[in-house]
């Protein structure tokens, strides 16, 4: 028998090799792949974005309707005050009917967005498995999907927030006439738009991170075997 190298020696050699050469997580490449995926699956992305869009439009319209309502009929004893998150919290605490609507709209956001993200990741398990075979690190896979979904979340939420707020404004004009423009708390409405956009983005990232993490942890063989 010729002398076989021991396992310890083999591992030591391999780890020495690893010190001189690494595996990269190229951000520019992840960005490029993410955008190409969005472009190629254009209609698929549009549907995902639409899901986010409607959820956030609903949320903003509920919030800004409450703002308009308060501005038009200032209620002396109202507990609703502040802006942004404080506004949402006091609204939830003070008005049962509004609380119900806000809660509903948040649930619609979470479920709709999580579902869209779950689909868009699971339908690409095979691609993920292949990338892992080519040497992609787990973090690269997660990065790829967070970039992709983050972009969808940002576009969908911001557009949804703008349109939702726009509709509230139109309905306020129709209901109360042009004079209402003078008494509306504009900054509060803009803050709600931004807040809803951030909520939409965070929910999208949250919804994508669970399936993306799970996919990145799968042995490549399992990922490639999965048929959706």
């Amino acid at each position: 028998m010729d002398e076989q190298i021991t396992h310890e020696e083999a591992i030591r050699r391999l780890r020495t090799d690893m010190k001189t050469s690494s595996v990269a997580t190229p951000f520019a490449t992840a960005l490029k792949i993410a955008f190409q995926s969005l472009r190629i699956r254009f209609w698929r992305s549009i549907i995902t974005i639409a899901g986010i869009f409607f959820a956030i439009a609903f949320l903003v319209s509920v919030l800004n309707s409450a703002v308009v309502e308060l501005a038009v009929n200032p209620d002396e004893g109202s507990q609703v005050s502040g802006t942004g998150i404080r506004f949402i919290l006091t609204l939830l605490a003070a008005e049962p009917r509004q609380a119900w609507l806000v809660t509903m709209s948040l649930i619609v956001c979470v479920i709709g967005i999580a579902n869209a993200m779950l689909m868009s990741v699971t339908e690409r398990y095979k691609e993920i498995g292949t990338m892992k075979c080519l040497g992609a690190l787990d973090i690269f896979v997660i990065e790829l999907f967070l970039l992709e979904s983050g972009f969808q979340g940002l576009v969908g939420s911001f557009a949804g927030a703008l349109i939702g707020a726009g509709l509230v404004l139109v309905s306020a004009l129709v209901k109360h006439g042009f004079a209402v423009m003078g008494i509306l708390p504009w900054s509060q409405m803009v803050i709600n738009i931004l807040l809803a956009t951030v909520i939409g983005l965070l929910l999208t990232l949250l919804g994508a991170s669970f399936p993306a993490y799970r996919a990145s942890q799968m042995p490549p063989a399992d990922a490639m075997r999965t048929e959706v």
């Binding site: 591992i11 780890r15 050469s21 595996v23 190409q36 892992k132 080519l134 690190l137």
Partner: protein
């Protein structure tokens, strides 16, 4: 005694169980293998014999339930996620039955992706990628997306991609199964050429009898066990007739030559067993 080459892949009592219904399906029932550097190995066996499971085990794509797989004498079960990624990136190239190109990327981008993971600069990766596409005969089509390429061309891109980081092992899972006979032959020729020129070890799962002609050794798997291992020198005498049979059979059997191939394979099996131990 005959060979003092190092083993590049070694499997010891590898078992794999999959949960199925209430119990388990044992896909591999204790596989022992030794594959030397630079060999061209074919793993043959009927569908469901555990070939693909074995392929996943020796490629570090899945973990055995029991037993050990060594790649360059390293027990891959002891590597962490980063080390496994490093191994897949630099030591092993994979070729799949379904090509598995990334659909949103061009041929060139598919080939350069592993190089980018390995930290090559964009320019280096592009020039090396163009070279590899040239080698597999697709120098002109580097800008095409996978959907714009035929099956054979996609598999060529996949082969170029598997060679991206000068791996020491190429694992090919039924590389010709989704291709017509002629294209399949071209792919096998290409793999053999690269095996000879670059000295890379090729381990290929296959049903395809024309793979026999180029293999140094054939490992027959049956029911999750190694049925027998044949060196090409044992079967060399038969190769001429088999090749003739298979190719001759194609003309008459219109599409696949599957029946002719199977016949030839059965005959080979019989003769090799008689002639062997």
């Amino acid at each position: 005694m005959a060979s003092t080459q190092e083993n590049t892949v070694r499997a010891r009592a590898v078992r794999k169980r999959f949960p199925m219904g209430e119990g388990y399906l044992e896909a591999l029932k204790g596989i022992d293998l030794e594959i030397k550097r630079g060999e061209y190995i074919s793993i043959m066996g009927p569908s469901g014999s555990g070939k693909t499971t074995l392929f996943n085990m020796i490629g570090g794509l899945d973990k055995p339930s029991d037993g050990t797989v060594y790649i360059d004498e390293v027990d891959i079960a002891q590597l962490d996620a980063y080390e496994l990624a490093w191994l897949r990136c630099r030591k092993i190239g994979y070729i799949f039955q379904t090509f598995n190109l990334i659909p949103v990327m061009t041929a060139l981008e598919n080939v350069t992706l592993p190089m980018i993971f390995a930290g090559l600069s964009n320019d280096e990766a592009i020039s090396k990628g163009r070279g590899l596409l040239e080698t597999v005969g697709l120098g002109e089509r580097w800008q095409h997306k996978p959907t714009e390429l035929s099956g054979g061309q996609q598999q060529r891109v996949a082969i170029a991609r598997s060679f991206a980081n000068d791996p020491s092992i190429i694992l090919a899972d039924e590389p010709t199964a989704n291709l017509d006979l002629k294209t399949g032959h071209d792919i096998i020729e290409l793999l053999r050429k690269l095996n000879k020129e670059m000295g890379v070890t090729i381990i290929s799962n296959t049903h395809d009898p024309s793979m026999l002609n180029v293999s140094d050794r054939i490992i027959w798997i049956r029911d999750g066990r190694v049925d027998r291992i044949e060196a090409r020198s044992d079967i060399d005498i038969n190769v001429g007739t088999i090749g003739g049979d298979v190719l001759g059979g194609v003309g008459s059997a219109d599409s696949h030559g599957g029946a002719a191939g199977k016949h030839a394979m059965d005959r080979l099996t019989g003769e090799a067993t008689n002639g062997g131990q």
